[in-house]
């Protein structure tokens, strides 16, 4: 219709103004982005800000109350442990302790501490401080706090007054010598001393900020300001704040660090939960490194010139078998049939991230105790069918539980892995009922507490180089997950091997355990080792990928 000229003109002006505004913002933004990225990339080899994109929120910054990698990443930069790993390996080397030794019974551990090391608050790192940490853990009061010390419960068994407690006492023989006495030997030592959860924190700061106060608040817990605002360790970085609105954890270089001082001035850990968005931020240049790229993206990123750093595989994915619900699964032949039915090589080829390999044992081949001559189950549908027929289990129907809404380094895509494995089993004549359960919405409960499944997939990333950390954790005692209460000779053999103090004898014992696991027991079928990766921009130097996902960023520098 006839709108007047003035009306039309006004409208046109409005539209034009809008378009100009949008373009201006875009242009300003571009200038903005150039400014920011230019500022970082143009610096010399030392200094600058290193921005690392992590995959999840940390819980808090008190090491003993944490158990997941996302919390440990910032914690690791701010604290040190008595013993640590050579960068990029699972080999031990001295951390806060220059050297360590144990007595022949394996119960008394002596640590010779480094001299002149100070906590971030200036107090001295000495034997008294070390013992204060051990005693603190052992004497922790309150179920709230105790329930959050997951690694402590796992390694040290229990708290003060508990008959399961492994820790006895700690003495400061002299300021540089701490002697820790255990009630019994565990194969976990000395490897367990490298666990980030057992980092040494400043007793002064802990006292000042009431570090032991963990209170229940509704359906979760509230932590002390030591854990949330004043983490104080001896590490290469000091705490600079956590901006939750933008998801950035800022860490500053510690100029008084006892070891290799950080090469960058500032480290920002930016939390980006979606793996695709992480990749996009890397490409846009707003972060210099990302963790856990999607396996499908690694090649593309490598082709574009980014550095894809593969961590040596130190994890395991297994198909768990629960013998409780279906009596046929108690027959070794049926379990072997399942092993033969799985085309693991094809799974690795089609779904495995770069560097993945079929697993024949439940631990990676870099761990002492790995048997090189273990019985392999090469893919054979015929053998599977034959064994099933022998056991009278043709036409077997099994409930196969798998997790959803989760991605783990050893299991990047559970739904796809399940589909492929179920497919293989169907081809061998085993009928599969797929039962998806959300990771935190029933999977862990159903599988590990109630044992409702016949089959399930699960895995594990190793904490330190000790066969007990893998095999012992899974099969060292009866677990609901495997319904294996009857396999007592398995428990005994593993228990014996784990209690062996002499390294050579322990290695031989575990090698035999691994052979027997494959031939005699087969409580589960190992599937693959899948190395997670890191990706960085070209100008990031010195980032050493760790098989334990335990990277330290003090060696990182940004070049031009």
């Amino acid at each position: 219709m006839r709108a007047s000229g003035m009306q039309a003109r006004r409208l046109r002006t409005v539209i034009a103004a809008g378009v100009i505004a949008a373009l201006t913002i875009g242009a300003a933004g571009c200038a903005e982005s150039d400014r920011d990225s230019g500022g970082d990339e143009g610096k010399a080899a030392t200094g600058g800000t290193f921005i690392f994109a992590g995959a999840g929120d940390p819980k808090n910054f008190d090491p003993i109350f944490n158990d997941d990698g996302e919390s440990f990443r910032p914690i690791r930069q701010m604290y040190d442990t008595l013993v640590t790993h050579k960068p990029g390996t699972a080999e031990l080397e001295g951390g806060l302790a220059e050297s360590w030794s144990n007595d022949p019974t394996g119960k008394i551990w002596t640590f010779k501490l480094r001299q002149g090391v100070k906590f971030h608050d200036g107090s001295a790192l000495d034997a008294a401080a070390v013992c204060a940490n051990f005693d603190r853990w052992y004497n922790m009061k309150g179920e709230a706090a105790q329930s959050q010390m997951i690694y402590y419960t796992d390694i040290f068994g229990g708290f003060a007054g508990s008959p399961d407690a492994v820790y006895d006492n700690c003495k400061a023989q002299d300021p540089a010598t701490a002697v820790v006495t255990m009630k019994k030997y565990k194969g976990a030592f000395p490897g367990a001393f490298t666990l980030t959860a057992f980092s040494i924190a400043s007793p002064t700061a802990m006292k000042q900020y009431d570090s032991d106060k963990v209170t229940q608040n509704g359906d979760s817990f509230a932590y002390s300001t030591f854990a949330t605002e004043h983490p104080t360790g001896t590490g290469a970085f000091t705490y600079g704040g956590w901006n939750k609105a933008t998801g950035e954890i800022t860490l500053n270089k510690n100029p008084d660090y006892w070891g290799n001082k950080a090469k960058v001035d500032k480290l920002i850990i930016k939390i980006i939960k979606d793996e695709n968005t992480r990749k996009q931020e890397l490409r846009a240049g707003t972060v210099q490194a990302i963790d856990f790229p999607a396996p499908a993206d690694r090649k593309a990123l490598a082709d574009e010139g980014y550095q894809v750093l593969n961590r040596p595989a130190f994890n395991i994915l297994y198909l768990g078998i629960n013998q409780k619900n279906n009596p046929k699964l108690k027959d070794l032949r049926v379990r072997q049939a399942i092993a033969y039915a799985l085309n693991r090589a094809q799974l690795v080829q089609t779904k495995g991230p770069g560097g993945a390999a079929v697993a024949d044992e439940f631990l990676p081949n870099t761990v002492a105790g790995y048997a090189p001559d273990v019985q392999k189950y090469e893919y054979s549908v015929d053998k599977a069918k034959q064994l099933l027929a022998e056991a009278g289990a043709t036409g077997l129907t099994l409930n196969f539980y798998y997790p959803t809404e989760v991605s783990r380094p050893y299991m990047p895509n559970p739904q796809e892995i399940f589909t492929v494995l179920a497919n293989d089993l169907q081809a061998a004549g085993i009928k599969v009922n797929g039962v998806p359960r959300p990771w935190n919405g029933g999977f862990k409960d159903d599988v590990q507490q109630f044992g409702k499944q016949d089959l399930h997939i699960l895995g594990w990333t190793g904490d330190y180089n000790d066969p007990g950390n893998f095999v012992g954790t899974f099969f060292g005692r009866a677990k609901v997950e495997f319904g294996d209460a009857s396999m007592t000779d398995m428990f005994t053999a593993i228990g014996k091997a784990d209690a062996t103090v002499d390294p050579a004898a322990k290695k031989a014992a575990f090698e035999q355990v691994n052979r027997d696991l494959a031939t005699k027991w087969l409580p589960a079928v190992p599937i693959w080792h899948a190395p997670p990766a890191l990706v960085t921009t070209k100008n990031v130097q010195g980032l050493v990928p760790s098989p334990l996902t335990a990277e330290e960023f003090n060696t990182v520098s940004l070049t031009k």
């Binding site: 499908a296 593309a300 080829q349 089609t350 739904q415 589909t419 919405g441």
Partner: protein, 319 residues
């Protein structure tokens, strides 16, 4: 369109749109109105386009086993041998659209996907429709406090945007399955149909032929079932076509958010787009583009037809 007031609430507006629709179709002379509308529809290009799209969709969905070259769940060795996590084979002999991330025939999955998408959309719409019609009929026929109660509940539900309601329902469910998605989307549509039916009932209650029937002593139940419900049919059908489009879009959104059907064996477009399409977008964007285009086309088709039907039934256009 309402001209009577300033800013109203979400529920208010949805209510008015639904009420208008029922008002239009509840007028006496329903048959000639429908015949009129039908004639107008056949001349309307948007209706034709929408109708053709829907027809194509229905044919593919119903005759999927005949149209598809392969089984949608079977993994083919000729595809898996070239399959890696960062390289998915494209079109090869016997597989016109190439492979999906697990070595299955993508073309077959797209075709069977029509079937599953139809299933989800139809069920979500149908369940919502049946429950809504039931509630609305009761509210309209019985009246009184039953009416008020039902309308209060539907008001609350109408105020919430459909996806949020669906998310809340999934969150409160113990786990996600295909049925969770269907029910969530269905529940979202119940208040719309309830409102529709109730409005239609109320409009017809005072109409001549109903009054006459009651004067003659015809039982209330018979009046409702034999006269009032059939007259509400047109409005319900129009709303159903519009609801279908939103239903499959919401289902796709739920899959994208990780709240959808976890069984990736099932070939359903929303699932294929929201899970595989997004994850493997760089490796093989076709895995996203094809389901996306299919969803857009079908949603478009239903929207076109629904809108045209609504326009055609508008008595104002009878001039």
């Amino acid at each position: 369109m309402s001209r009577t007031g300033g800013i109203s609430t979400l529920a208010d507006h949805k209510r008015r749109r639904i009420d208008e629709l029922t008002a239009r179709t509840a007028e006496a002379g329903g048959v000639s109105l429908i015949r009129d509308a039908g004639r107008r529809l056949l001349r309307d290009p948007t209706a034709i386009v929408g109708g053709v799209i829907i027809l194509l969709f229905l044919i593919i969905a119903i005759f999927a086993p005949l149209v598809a070259p392969h089984d949608p769940v079977q993994r083919f060795p000729e595809l898996t041998q070239h399959l890696t996590v960062d390289s998915i084979p494209g079109a090869t002999a016997g597989h016109p659209l190439g492979s999906d991330p697990l070595g299955r025939d993508f073309a077959s999955r797209m075709i069977y996907g029509a079937r599953q998408t139809l299933f989800v959309g139809v069920l979500a719409t149908l369940i919502g429709l049946l429950l809504g019609v039931l509630l609305g009929a009761i509210a309209g026929a019985v009246g009184g406090w039953v009416d008020v109660l039902i309308m209060r509940i539907t008001d609350v539900m109408l105020a919430l945007p459909s996806l949020l309601l669906a998310i809340t329902l999934v969150a409160l469910a113990s786990r996600s399955t295909q049925w969770t998605v269907i029910i969530a989307v269905a529940v979202v549509n119940v208040p719309i149909f309830a409102r529709l039916l109730r409005g239609s009932m109320l409009a017809q209650r005072e109409s001549d032929h109903v009054l006459a029937a009651r004067a003659l002593g015809v039982k209330r139940r018979d009046i409702v079932l034999r006269h009032m419900l059939p007259n509400s049919l047109t409005a319900v059908i129009v709303q159903a076509t519009l609801t279908f489009a939103v239903a499959i879009l919401d289902a796709a959104a739920l899959s994208f958010l990780g709240l959808g059907d976890p069984d990736i064996n099932r070939a359903e477009w929303g699932l294929m787009l929201g899970v595989d399409g997004v994850r493997y977008f760089e490796v093989r964007p076709e895995l996203a583009y094809f389901p996306a285009l299919a969803i857009i086309a079908v949603a478009l088709g239903f929207t076109l037809l629904g809108e045209s039907m609504r326009e055609a039934l508008d008595p104002k256009n009878r001039r």
